[in-house]
Symmetry: C2
Amino acid sequence: MKDHLGRQEAVTVKEAIKILQTQPIHTTKTETVPIEKAFKRVLAEDIFSPEELPGFARSSMDGFALFAEDTFGATESMPAYLRVVGNIKMGEKPKFKLRRGEAATVATGGMLPEGADAVLMLEYTNRVDAETIEVLKQVAPGENVIAPDEDIRKGERILQKGHRLRPQDIGALAGIGILQVMVYKKPVVAIISTGDEIIPPHEKPQPGQVRDINSYNLIGLIEDTGGIGIKKGIIKDNREELKSALLEAISTSDMVLITGGSSVGTGDYTEEVINELGEPGVLFHGVMMKPGKPLIGAFVGGVPVFGLPGHPVAVTICFEVFVKPLLRKVSGEEVLHYIPERKRVKAYFSRNLPSTLGREDYIRVRLREEEGRLVADPMLGKSALIKTLVHADGMVIIPKDSNGIYQGQEVEVVLFEY
Amino acid sequence: MKDHLGRQEAVTVKEAIKILQTQPIHTTKTETVPIEKAFKRVLAEDIFSPEELPGFARSSMDGFALFAEDTFGATESMPAYLRVVGNIKMGEKPKFKLRRGEAATVATGGMLPEGADAVLMLEYTNRVDAETIEVLKQVAPGENVIAPDEDIRKGERILQKGHRLRPQDIGALAGIGILQVMVYKKPVVAIISTGDEIIPPHEKPQPGQVRDINSYNLIGLIEDTGGIGIKKGIIKDNREELKSALLEAISTSDMVLITGGSSVGTGDYTEEVINELGEPGVLFHGVMMKPGKPLIGAFVGGVPVFGLPGHPVAVTICFEVFVKPLLRKVSGEEVLHYIPERKRVKAYFSRNLPSTLGREDYIRVRLREEEGRLVADPMLGKSALIKTLVHADGMVIIPKDSNGIYQGQEVEVVLFEY
């Protein structure tokens, strides 16, 4: 459907997300990395433990290894008495065997001697003499003991393909002696800036020119999502230049982001050029949201291509809403939908703000405290203004079926935290 | 105060945090980095803009530059007519001057010609012939125009010392031509693993031995907080070895984390050794929390030193609660207390779980969906078990004045998301 200016009719945010989700995704290739380099990488294999952990019966407390049965019925007023026959050295298999009526001192992490089936905490004992302790409490068999396979069983799947590795996962891999893992390569995302008015940041702008903000913003957004952003430079408003830059980018990257050139302006042939390069081409051009309306969503031969608006704020919003979830899929990540993409806080909105029905509004807000309450002040101003993003702590989303936010209304702020 | 086993009495979590906060902090030294490398770094200077942005009157829409007054009263039924005298090229100062009754086509981001004070969107015009447009709506002076200093004023402070740079901040720096910034150096955090039973991950454990999990977990936690973790290796349970390793670590690092050796076990002289190395030494030993009780908090000559428990789960919890906020301060970061450290979600707790009054309990939980509701299942098991962290999506904190959580109770889950 085209409108009277020859533009495709805009889709809703939900429709746009669905269109992107239904496209087949090519995940990146895999590589093997040492676990020291695997933090935040996405596993490309299931991990099964080659051995059990801890591998031996281990004390989880400082105290005495003993036979649980020898403590049955013991209380502070009716203590049991045990003979201390040894001291278990850390990191060694005890050289002695425990017999009934005997105990051995053991520190947290020490190995239980043969015979012992429980550990009594130091706190519940009294030393009578060098060889004898008073037991003030009974323990059950297995109490304060970690069984040889209690942490991880041999052959157990401890981590799943598609999981982004967290610090504790790297710790667990070290614990079972897995020193390298197969992960998905970091997706390479090409960034093409377009516009005759755009110059690199090291140049001095002449009247009518502005420096490239979007490529620098995108590099960070991509890095934060686990990708590698590659600046492909600034392309002038020229059909052939854009086409050849796009062709090169598609053939060397896992995703392509074009900024600018998605409005109905002079030299707006981004959509045509994308369609010429391959199937299925442009999937939508125009989304009912503000900012971000001129967004182009496309796939060319399996590579997602986004035509992002030129306004810096729109770039960030479109990245968060559309690019980021797709980039995580390209990275091989299995995303649990109930884990939010960003931190959120509740705050009270500081003024009335109308919104157009049928359109999602993304309002940048700054947070402050007032009388012990968190207050969100909208950063009003055009989406061309980078300052509305720089001064913002987060954003509030006004859904398409709402006509605005009232002063004092409680809102959820999606935080810009990295 | 010492208890009957000669241990210092435990402090509450709140007290421990306060004790740490009142110590004077040495932030790291500063360095200058190019903005491409500055993402997530902490600014060590205020940033004032050397120029205005965009620097010229700029259209924020595709349409016609014109005199607002020429459109006053124009409607669809009573259009105004203007003569199109030029087409503004992107990135150039228009070579013509606009006179009353005239308009010029302009694309988003184009520079307004002398005389023009507003832009009318393309949508509200009709082409009558090659030289004439119908104006269907009036615009106010300044409408759809970005004033030369509307985004950033010359001399305006756009970013503050102590701010951790986000993607949009890097974009703004590029926009005003600032190509390098002064930031705090990443804090170097020494990690000392202690225990005769600990071996490096590449070795095959003998009975009684376990591989070093904690150093690998900590490396990721430190990296996630913007620091650089340096594994100082595994120190045997030997007073002199620990002392010399600690001395070396304190003199070469911004913070020292010792794992193991904080319990009252064999070879537990960590506290004594820290106190021998300098003032103020150990500030607390023992916190009323589970896991994490044996934690040691110390400062030696301005360097924070933590004696973390040996259990992997306790390491993660103590890092989150005590180490992370301090590490951010050492990094020079000004932390806004109302910005949460981690993402959180609400969930329903799946079972009754008692908790001891007077102690904070940190319960690892796994999330799942059941009948459209998010449910948190506690991962029960000793804090020595790394699997309870690997299988967990986050944690629920039971405050010290609560005696537990009831089945079906709504809880806030602090997510382990990196």
